[in-house]
């Protein structure tokens, strides 16, 4: 039986992480499934009892999602329309039971290639806040998720928040599409998150498009984003996507689908995501 620490302050948690290796548990929805039929002998730091880590706050020039914020918190929060993709993703994470327990930050730290949270958060230009006794480091999400189950988090750090910059202007929207082989409780074959902002003339001012489950870590499509910016809404934004735009992806064959299939449907899903988003802006 391992150690179980459930501190009540972040400082206490960081001190513990500083002193020895601990497995961080928040919602438990990745911790327990990885230990089916195995002993629970990890030394655990349960961060769920720290007040102030849960919630989504408008901090003026950015929004902040605290470490213990659950997917249900995201679904229930009153948020501007550009959170639309993240909200849709939240509803696709497991079943309601998992949405009620699992956290946004835990999803990022677990770093599954099929993590539902990564594409929408990439499309929101998210950064993550990593805290340790040495201080707080803010890292773009792209630089945090490094690969399959690999992140830039040091063992003595914990993720204390996700930071989302506010888009310029007030005409922004987000969308998310997930493809799986059944309706609920399904791991993505491909998913797409996109956030688009328009200027007063009805032209795309900024766009971020990210695709998940098609590489070890979800990837943005900068080539496509560059092509879209400046286009007028109503011109079928999604039709701008080409195979070349998918170059950042490196899908694999697995039980859920072939690499060729993933490339093929990623194109379709990106197109549909952008066209749907355009219709709502």
């Amino acid at each position: 039986m391992g150690e179980y620490l459930r501190p009540s302050t972040v400082d206490e948690a960081l001190q513990a992480l500083h002193s020895h290796d601990l497995t961080i548990v928040a919602g438990g929805t990745d911790f327990y499934p990885a230990r089916v039929g195995k002993p629970l002998d990890d030394d655990v730091l349960d961060v769920s009892g720290i007040p102030g880590l849960r919630g989504i706050a408008d901090n003026g020039d950015h929004w902040r999602i605290g470490a213990c914020t659950t997917w249900t918190d995201v679904i229930r929060a009153d948020l501007p329309p550009w959170f639309g993709g993240l909200k849709l993703a939240a509803r696709e994470v497991g079943g309601v039971q998992i949405q009620n327990a699992g956290t946004v930050c835990g999803n990022l730290c677990n770093a599954s290639p099929a993590a539902d949270g990564v594409p929408p958060l990439l499309s929101l230009g998210a950064s993550v806040e990593l805290s340790s006794v040495d201080g707080v480091h803010v890292l773009p999400l792209e630089d945090f998720v490094l690969g399959n189950r690999k992140t830039a988090r040091r063992a003595d750090q914990m993720m204390t928040a996700v930071i989302l910059p506010k888009p310029a202007g007030d005409r922004s929207g987000g969308h998310f599409l997930k493809l799986g082989a059944r309706k609920y409780l399904v791991i993505s074959i491909v998913m797409v998150g996109a956030t688009v902002s328009a200027d007063e003339d009805g032209r795309v001012a900024s766009a971020r498009v990210a695709v998940g489950a098609c590489s070890a870590a979800a990837q943005r499509l900068p080539g496509l984003e560059a092509v879209i910016v400046g286009r007028s809404l109503g011109a079928c934004l999604g039709d701008a996507v080409t195979n070349a735009h998918l170059d950042p992806l490196s899908p694999i064959d697995d039980v859920r689908g072939s690499a060729d299939y993933r490339n093929d449907v990623a194109l379709t899903l990106v197109r549909r995501t952008l066209n749907e988003l355009e219709a709502r802006l």
Binding site: G2, V36, P39, A181, Y184, L185, V255
Partner: protein, 913 residues
């Protein structure tokens, strides 16, 4: 932040309104604390991974999976479990609705379903169907097909189902209340205090030799370890379904033949056996070449899975009548094709579990099972005991579908309890259940169907290779059943069909709802669609043209005298078919999503193939007037307890509510045979009817009453009213036997069949079930995804003893058939959990219309025959036909996963230019 004991002080929480305190490690799963520390076993564990939702409870008013909550997080919080729903003995509205709607079949998912539904209703007292689906979508059910659960949640105020009634009545399950209160006890729920735990060590290799070294240090390092069982400890180390095929070792003896095979069993206290990693054991494997595919297994020089089985061939069977090749050559149209299906996992939500204790020179095994008598005989054989030294007491069974017909924990806990003289329990975890247990046989089928100009079938050839995995299990059954059914439910004058069961290093393929017939149906129904297209005949009509009718002979030469209800099924479907075709035409103006309609037909021989499979049922009346029903047929959720009691009630003339049941206990019931082959309603039902008639005759004889007399039980008195005259039987004056009974009735029924000769000619089954289903689907052409929209299912069941249960079987079969068609594929080592292995969820099963056709079977009880398997068989063919109609592609390999369907669509677009 204290060290050992890490769980001091105790953790305080509120459970169902009561403050409780538990001394458990804070990382322990809340589900385990509820079950082990607080005795609240209503919360079920199906996967420990958040994949199934069976453990759903509410924590501070939010539904969570209790298997993923550290109990430390529950400190100071409110937990609500299924046990808190009822107010004493009064069900709440939701529980009552589940009970009345037949929303609980086996009941293992029911506590989780109820808690998820309560969570919704607490926020939204009148939800829409979509809201119900979203809120309950995190709980899997393998029995019901979800539709009756949705109905229940949407109909809280609905009228109560009748709780009493005889044949034909829509009564709620007579044993249904404990399923909605959490009181039902499954294999893992009533483990005696002080039981030792047994954990099976399983090989990660598909094929290997191995040696086990000295265990001395293991015992030194783990004082809680009591015994390690290996092959050397097993008196007769072989089991199997067939008397001459005891080829599967309880514990492998130096050779493993599939990944997940048992090599040793650790017995000790629970914490100890769970903390010993497989890698800590001194087992040395030397991998050997493995074969996974039937073609590779049959190739010259292929490694032999079992050394004494040349060519890796287990068995071969076939049916021949007329001259199929000649008839095909002369046919106006011939369709042929090759078809492929994978391993399919039963995915019952209750993993295998049970416990045993030694009682003198006997051993008693309490286990989740479909076959208590076979378990008894097999366990005794393995332990070197005579059958009577073993008692099997079935616990409630949390889903079987054929997977709990083979032995799992029985011989291991039986052996350990026998040797150690202490109660011993074993509960599989989910990946273990999936790796170790049997599967549906993968198949490779080549077939050709020919017809004349009018579309009448002229000939059928079919050749099927079934991958039976490493051990025989039910392989011979599949190889024997499929050739009989391979023509489909049609008149065919010239037939040549063959089935082979071939060993590979896969998991043993065993019994799974349909015994190979669902695989064959995909072939015959696709080819029927081909012939319809070739001859320009409507797809439903070509089936009607060829449908077997009373008086026809099957390919085995069996003349079907009665109860051949396929044509009435098709007649009932015709208006739905035509409406669906029309609707599809108008829908398909969109380009990226297309709708299609398909139809599938089936037949299914009820009971064992050309083998005796009797059932004996007993009734008795005690001196105080208690009416006992000793029923050896295991109810695994399909409703046989209720159905057989309704039959007894009708035959005896006494209300259902008067019967007290003893089910499946091998010491107290006679052998009802296995719950398999859709046989319990037909075979055990007939035996129950005969038992009731026997008891009735004995009662009437007491007072010389005539056959029209009515019987009324009134405590120690039976009132018999005959032609206006009242007779009284004072039970206290009758002599009582050792069994405490004063009157007894017994009935035995063995369906009349005959052996098949070398050309497969004979009477393999006494009767057949028939059905036809229509599927409407939408296919997203760009993504290759298929969304079933509706299923209309017409089933000839002879007589629906209880229409709620009949619908339940059809709904559940459809859900499994849908899974077979669209998503289910077991890959050893890769899909050993319920998130990589997909079964349909709430959102995947569409609206289902069930049309019950009753073409009575004279041999059956009140005309009834079976429906357990028929529900599944036509669904996949109907869905594949609908996909073809929608997308223009003929899918011959299931599951039609999105990437496979998309590839087929792209290939078609290339062909079409």
């Amino acid at each position: 932040m204290s060290e050992a004991p890490a769980f001091d002080p105790a953790i305080g929480l509120t459970v169902n309104g009561k403050a409780v305190s538990v001394a458990a490690p804070p990382i322990k799963r809340l589900a385990d604390v509820l079950r082990d520390d607080l005795g609240l076993t209503g919360t079920k564990i199906g996967c420990n991974a958040g994949d199934c939702g069976a453990c759903t409870v509410r924590l501070d008013g939010e539904q969570v999976c209790a298997c993923m909550v550290p109990v430390g997080q529950a400190a100071g919080r409110r937990v609500e479990t299924v046990e808190g729903l009822a107010d004493g003995s009064v069900l709440n509205d939701l529980q009552a609705a589940f009970h009345n709607h037949g929303a609980a079949q086996c009941g293992i998912c029911t506590p989780g379903m109820l808690m998820a539904a309560i969570d919704l209703l607490a926020r939204n007292s009148s939800p829409t169907e979509a809201e119900v689906l979203d809120s309950l979508g995190g709980v899997l059910c393998r029995c019901t097909g979800y539709r009756k659960i949705v109905d229940a949640v949407l109909d809280l105020a609905g009228a109560a189902a009748s709780q009493d009634g005889a044949v034909g009545a829509r009564i709620a399950k007579i044993d249904g209340i404990p399923k909605v209160t959490g009181a039902e006890r499954y294999g893992a729920d009533a483990v005696p205090d002080g039981a030792l735990w047994l954990r099976v060590v399983r090989t990660p290799h598909h094929s290997a030799d191995f040696t086990i070294g000295d265990m001395g240090s293991l015992f030194a390092n783990y004082p809680g370890l009591v015994r390690v069982l290996t092959a050397a400890d097993v008196p007769f180390n072989g089991f199997g379904i067939y008397p001459d095929l005891k080829d599967q070792p309880v514990l492998a003896d130096g050779v493993v033949r599939y990944r997940g095979e048992a090599v040793a069993a650790l017995v000790g206290d629970r914490a100890t056996v769970e903390s010993i990693a497989d890698g800590d054991l001194p087992i040395e494997y030397r991998p050997r070449p493995a074969v996974f595919d039937t073609e590779a297994a049959r190739a010259d020089g292929a490694p032999l899975v079992q050394a004494d089985k040349p060519g890796n061939l287990l068995i071969e069977g076939g049916v021949v009548t007329g001259d199929a090749d000649a008839a095909l050559a002369e046919s106006a149209a011939v369709a042929d094709g090759s078809f492929e299906t994978p391993f399919v996992e039963h995915a019952y939500i209750e993993p295998e579990a049970g416990w045993a204790e030694r009682v003198g020179d006997r051993v008693e095994v309490h286990v989740t099972t479909q076959a208590p008598y076979m378990d008894r005989d097999e366990t005794a054989n393995v332990l070197g005991l005579v059958a009577e030294q073993v008692r099997i007491v079935p616990t409630a069974c949390g889903g079987g579908f054929g997977g709990k017909l083979d032995l799992s924990v029985q011989p291991l806990v039986g052996l350990a309890a026998w040797l150690l003289d202490r109660p011993v329990v074993c509960v599989y975890h989910r990946p273990e259940s999936m790796a170790a247990s049997t599967k549906r046989h993968p198949s490779k089928i080549r077939a050709a169907f020919g017809c004349d100009e009018a579309g009448k079938l002229t000939a059928v050839t079919l050749d099927a290779d079934f991958n039976t995995g490493a051990y025989a299990s039910w392989g011979p059954t599949v190889a024997g059943r499929v050739p009989v059914h391979a023509t489909g439910p049609y008149r065919v004058p010239n037939v040549e069909t063959r089935g082979r069961a071939i060993f590979t290093n896969g998991p043993p393929s065993g019994a799974f709802r349909g015994f190979g017939v669902p695989q064959a149906a995909i072939a015959h129904e696709t080819l029927m669609d081909d012939l319809a297209e070739a001859r320009g005949i409507d797809r439903l009509e070509i089936r009607a043209i060829n449908a077997l009718r009373a008086g026809d002979a099957t390919a085995t030469g069996h003349v079907l005298e009665a109860s051949v209800g396929l044509l009435p099924c098709l007649d009932a479907l015709r208006p739905h078919w035509q409406a669906a075709l029309q609707d599809t035409q108008s829908f398909n103006r969109r380009t990226d999503i297309r709708r299609g309609v398909g139809v599938g037909c089936m037949w299914y021989g009820i009971g064992n193939t050309s083998m005796s499979n009797p059932s004996t049922m007993r009734l008795g009346i005690a001196r105080d007037g208690t009416l006992m029903f000793f029923n050896g047929a295991v109810d695994i959720g399909q409703g046989s307890n209720t159905i057989l009691t309704q039959i007894c009630a009708e035959a005896l003339g006494v209300p259902v509510s008067r019967f007290r049941l003893v089910m499946g206990d091998t010491d107290r019931t006679a052998d009802g045979g296995k719950t398999s082959a859709s046989r319990q309603t037909f075979v055990s039902g007939k035996a129950a009817e005969l038992a009731a008639l026997d008891l009735r005759a004995k009662i009437l004889r007491q007072v010389n009453a005539g056959p029209e007399a009515t019987i009324h039980l009134d405590g120690p008195t039976i009132h018999v009213r005959d032609g206006g005259v009242d007779h009284r039987i004072d039970l206290e004056t009758l002599s009582r036997g050792d069994d405490g009974l004063v009157l007894r009735g017994e009935g035995t029924f063995d369906p009349p069949t005959s052996p098949l000769d070398e050309r497969g000619q004979g009477v393999p089954y006494a009767t057949y079930g028939f059905a036809a289903q229509i599927a409407v689907v939408e296919v997203d052409l760009e993504l290759g995804t298929t969304k079933p929209q509706k299923i209309v299912a017409a089933h000839d069941v002879g007589r629906a003893i209880n229409p709620i249960q009949v619908e339940g079987q059809i709904h559940g079969g459809i859900a499994q058939g849908l899974g077979l068609a669209l998503m289910e594929e077991y890959l050893p080592g890769r899909t050993e959990n319920l998130h990589d292995y997909l079964i349909p969820t709430f959102g995947d099963v569409p609206e289902i219309d069930v049309i019950i056709v009753e073409d009575p079977e004279p041999l059956g009880p009140f005309g009834a025959k079976g429906v357990g398997e028929p529900g599944l068989v036509p669904t996949a063919p109907a869905i594949l036909g609908a996909i073809r109609h929608a997308a223009g592609v003929r899918m011959t390999r299931v599951p039609a996963l999105p990437h496979r369907l998309r590839a087929a669509i792209l290939a078609k677009e290339t062909r079409d230019g």
